[in-house]
């Protein structure tokens, strides 16, 4: 007796349709699962058996073979527990084969027969080939976000069988008990002083320029960076779906309102491995922090403490906006368009790093900075120092400008970027930039001189022009890009490597 059940499995952040084929035949009693299952998939045998018996069904003492098709796609996780159980029930004649037609099942089983939620409900429901999906009650809200599909929440195996037999109606909305931790985004008004750094953050938000903050401990680098997501506009519908899909795949509960609408904020610890940052690792190919921050801000505090190999792994995804992870079993693409913000101390000792002002030998300082490679540094369009605030600014002084006011300017700058066909200026290519931001004669000469002096690489030139355009967008200037804007972009681009003795005449 054969039964086929629709389901899906997660590969990276994308779902792949899977058909679970269950064959029950005479022979020595056995229960085998074939078709590239991973360890937790194989364990399904024990869970399915216990769940069926606990729910009051007889376990067939016959030869059971479960095939997960297509066999080439690796299957991971416990999401196939429920479809295997349903397939067994059909194959044993407990449920009519016709009653599960056009229906897919996604869920983990408890030993008591309860149906438990699974991570990645959103991409999984999206992937199934049929229109009706049965999921755990906690997954129902997420499943319903995939609009044309109908989701049936089901608390346990027993009520599923009753509903399939038509003896009882499908249970009504099982409202989600999980809730995403919602929080207020911190406000820029809390930051006192720091005029230059505030401005740099505004430019970073307006043009999606990567930002490097350099300053001694306690200067407020993390505080400033934490306020950057609050300046970014809401995610568009497409972005929101993409962001929600990634975070669902990572097992994060979605917010009560539905999709994630605000740009994410991720701040991995500097001990992170390159698999944790970029993604991959095991055969399941988990999305990395850079993908979880897609559409939002990836903050790397203590940049100098990250392993150099890990940082260099970020270079290609930062450039392309996607990560491709390849494993023997297959490969997966993750979106990874982030605004990278990093913070580091000017000196390994934690001092201010002023020339002649610290006891660290030059080679120790060089070693600290060499961990950040030149090419990675080149990807930071904005590099600025953050000083310790003055006591006067901390105790007295006015509140800073609130995030809402800055966000308005950012939104109108993004509006101008949209007119150029991109979401932010950083995405502009060379020719688009030339049309969008023609240089004045003096500005061209100035850049020529800077290139000749060896203070700018070819990539740097493009970045400086883009930042100048973003500053023009923020200040509302419409004319050609003049030398002052180019100088402002250069001024926001300090070089923490620039060694002593550059100007020995």
């Amino acid at each position: 007796m054969l039964a086929t059940v629709h389901a899906a499995t997660l590969l990276g952040v994308r779902g792949h349709p899977v058909r679970v084929e269950v064959h029950v035949d005479n022979g020595l009693p056995a229960f085998n699962v074939v078709g590239l299952p991973d360890a937790s998939c194989k364990e399904a045998r024990d869970r399915v058996r216990a769940a069926l018996v606990s729910s009051g069904f007889a376990w067939p003492s016959r030869r059971i073979t479960v095939n997960l098709a297509p066999t080439g796609v690796p299957k991971a996780g416990a999401v196939l527990d429920l479809p295997m159980a349903v397939g067994l029930l059909v194959a044993c004649g407990e449920v009519e084969p016709t009653s599960i037609e056009g229906m897919a099942f996604l869920g983990e089983l408890g030993l008591d027969g309860s149906v438990r939620p699974i991570p990645g409900a959103l991409p999984l429901v999206d992937a199934v080939e049929v229109d009706v999906v049965v999921v755990a009650p906690d997954n129902a809200d997420e499943a319903r976000l995939v609009t044309p599909k109908v989701a049936h929440p089901i608390p346990d195996l027993r009520s599923l069988v009753l509903a399939l037999r038509g003896e009882e109606p499908w249970p009504e909305t099982g409202s989600s008990t999980q809730e995403a931790a919602s929080f207020e985004e911190p406000d820029l008004a809390d930051v006192r002083g720091q005029r230059m750094a505030r401005f740099a953050i505004e430019v970073a938000a307006a043009g999606a320029h990567h930002l490097l903050l350099i300053g001694p401990p306690g200067a407020g680098k993390s505080m400033l960076a934490r306020r950057l997501p609050g300046l970014l506009p809401d995610l568009t519908d497409d972005q929101a779906l993409e962001v929600s899909r990634i975070r669902s795949a990572a097992g994060e509960p979605l917010p009560t309102g539905g999709l994630f609408r605000r740009p994410p904020w991720r701040s991995p610890h500097h001990g992170a491995s390159s698999a944790a940052l970029v993604g991959g690792g095991s055969a399941a190919m988990h999305p990395g922090e850079i993908s979880l921050a897609h559409g939002g801000v990836l903050f790397l505090d203590e940049l100098g403490e990250f392993a150099p190999k890990v940082l260099d792994a970020l270079r290609q995804p930062l450039e392309d906006g996607t990560v491709q992870i390849s494993r023997v079993a297959g490969s997966a693409d993750y979106p990874a368009r982030v605004l990278l913000v990093a913070a580091m101390n000017p000196c390994p000792c934690g001092g201010s790093g002023a020339p002649g002002g610290c006891r660290c030998p030059e080679h120790v300082r060089l070693k600290y900075f060499r961990r950040v490679s030149g090419p990675l540094l080149d990807r930071f369009d904005l590099r600025i120092d953050v000083d310790l605030p003055e006591p006067v600014e901390l105790l007295g002084g006015r509140d800073g400008e609130p995030s809402s006011a800055v966000a308005e300017r950012v939104a109108s700058a993004r509006e101008r970027a949209r007119a150029r066909g991109v979401t932010a200026n950083v995405e502009l290519g060379a020719s688009a930039l030339a049309t969008a931001a023609p240089l004045s004669h003096e500005a061209t000469r100035l850049l020529e001189a800077t290139l000749h002096a060896g203070r700018l690489s070819a990539r740097g030139l493009h970045r400086v022009r883009t930042v100048a355009l973003t500053i023009a967008d923020l200040t509302g200037s419409e004319a050609l890009i003049g030398p002052d804007l180019i100088d402002a972009a250069l001024g926001l681009r300090i070089d923490p490597f620039r060694p002593a003795g550059h100007g020995i005449h």
Partner: protein, 379 residues
């Protein structure tokens, strides 16, 4: 340079300098220990004594209780060294070796309280024989101000025919020689603490070669000697001995240049210190010297006066475009200490965009120097 008579066939023909070279190649062999060892012996006899591993009571006065272990260590090392091979290798490398008492030994070191028994030289040893020599020393961790002063002094002195003596370290030392080389004039004299085949620090290798080409490089250490902590203060006494006047440009509250000052005072050489901002840690040592009565250096004339050569050199014309508004205000607000963009934004009432472009403009025009995100005014 190496002729057939330089190749020594047997130990008996090895000149005194050859035996001294071998002795100096022993581990932790400093000038004081060597002097104690040579008390009443010729270098060749000393070598035989050391090699035999006999106890060395005469060295105990300098070394203390560790002398037995040291004698064993030396004996072991001496058995592994073939003096004649070391000697011919040194000669083959084009290194000149002058022992104390040789005709070419620098005259100014002859009455030194602790003269180098042997000097190794690359370049023209005659460069030492100019009428006046000035040592320019200072910290490795210097500011832009210190570097500028060192470069400027090195240049003006070389132009005035005064040889610049320095240690070829990072920071002030290197800047002084770079200035002297750029100006031409008197040949530079570099005194280093490693063997002449080991350029240290590596970052100054080019400068090292240029000094050897234009003037002379001196060392007390035989070839193959790497950097050792104790050799730097020892080297500083040679710098002080060679110089007629010692100038300290920048020095932290403690540091190697203060050893040079001590050595200079011991040898009655006048010491001049360059005043610096009271906030600057790199000027703490020099300002302290001034407080103790050291002569302040406020211009090249002060050095020439100390040398007994009064004169003055006109300042070269400034070819930088003059800063306009608001750059002038930013320049003034920056003062003469390293400052950041953030610090400037508190002192100048300019919108951030204008401040950023002003600073970039000043860097481009040569009024500011950027070092690791810090801006420093350039004179």
């Amino acid at each position: 340079m190496a002729s057939t008579d330089d190749v020594v066939a047997n130990e008996a023909e090895l000149p005194e300098a050859g035996w001294l070279t071998a002795l100096l190649g022993l581990p932790a062999m400093g000038p004081r220990r060597l002097a104690a060892l040579l008390d009443g012996r010729s270098p060749a006899e000393a070598w035989v004594v050391v090699r035999s591993g006999r106890p060395l009571p005469e060295v105990a006065a300098v070394v203390g209780g560790r002398v037995a272990a040291l004698a064993t260590e030396w004996a072991q090392a001496a058995r592994a060294i073939q003096p004649e091979a070391v000697w011919s290798a040194t000669r083959a490398a084009g290194v000149e070796v002058v022992a104390y008492g040789d005709a070419s030994y620098p005259r100014c070191l002859l009455d030194d309280p602790e003269p180098a028994p042997v000097l190794f030289a690359v370049g023209r040893l005659e460069a030492v024989a100019v009428p006046s020599r000035v040592a320019i020393v200072g910290t490795r961790r210097c500011t832009r101000y210190g570097r500028d002063v060192a470069t400027e002094l090195g240049g003006s002195l070389a132009e005035a025919g005064v040889a610049v003596v320095s240690g070829l370290a990072l920071g002030i030392d290197g800047a002084a020689h770079a200035g002297a080389l750029a100006a031409g004039g008197a040949s530079p004299i570099g005194v280093v603490a490693t063997g002449l085949d080991i350029a240290y620090p590596v970052a100054n290798r080019r400068l090292w070669n240029r000094v050897a080409e234009a003037g002379v490089l001196l060392s007390e250490a035989p070839l193959g000697t790497g950097p050792r902590g104790w050799r730097f203060p020892a080297r500083n006494r040679i710098i002080a001995g060679l110089a007629d006047v010692v100038v300290v440009v920048e020095s932290h509250a403690s540091g190697g240049s203060l050893y040079t000052v001590e050595a200079a005072l011991e040898r009655d050489r006048p010491v001049l210190a360059v005043p610096g901002p009271i906030h600057s840690p790199a000027s703490r040592g020099t300002n302290h010297l001034l407080a103790e009565g050291c002569v302040p250096l406020c211009g090249i004339d002060d050095v020439l006066t100390a040398l007994g050569l009064v004169g003055s050199t006109p300042a070269p014309a400034d070819r930088r475009p003059s800063p306009g508004e608001p750059d002038l205000g930013v320049l003034e607000a920056a003062g003469w200490s390293p400052t950041t963009l953030g610090a400037l934004s508190r002192r100048v009432d300019l919108p951030p965009v204008d401040l950023a472009s002003s600073v970039a403009r000043l860097v481009r025009m040569g009024w500011f120097d950027e070092e690791r995100g810090f801006y420093q005014r350039v004179r």
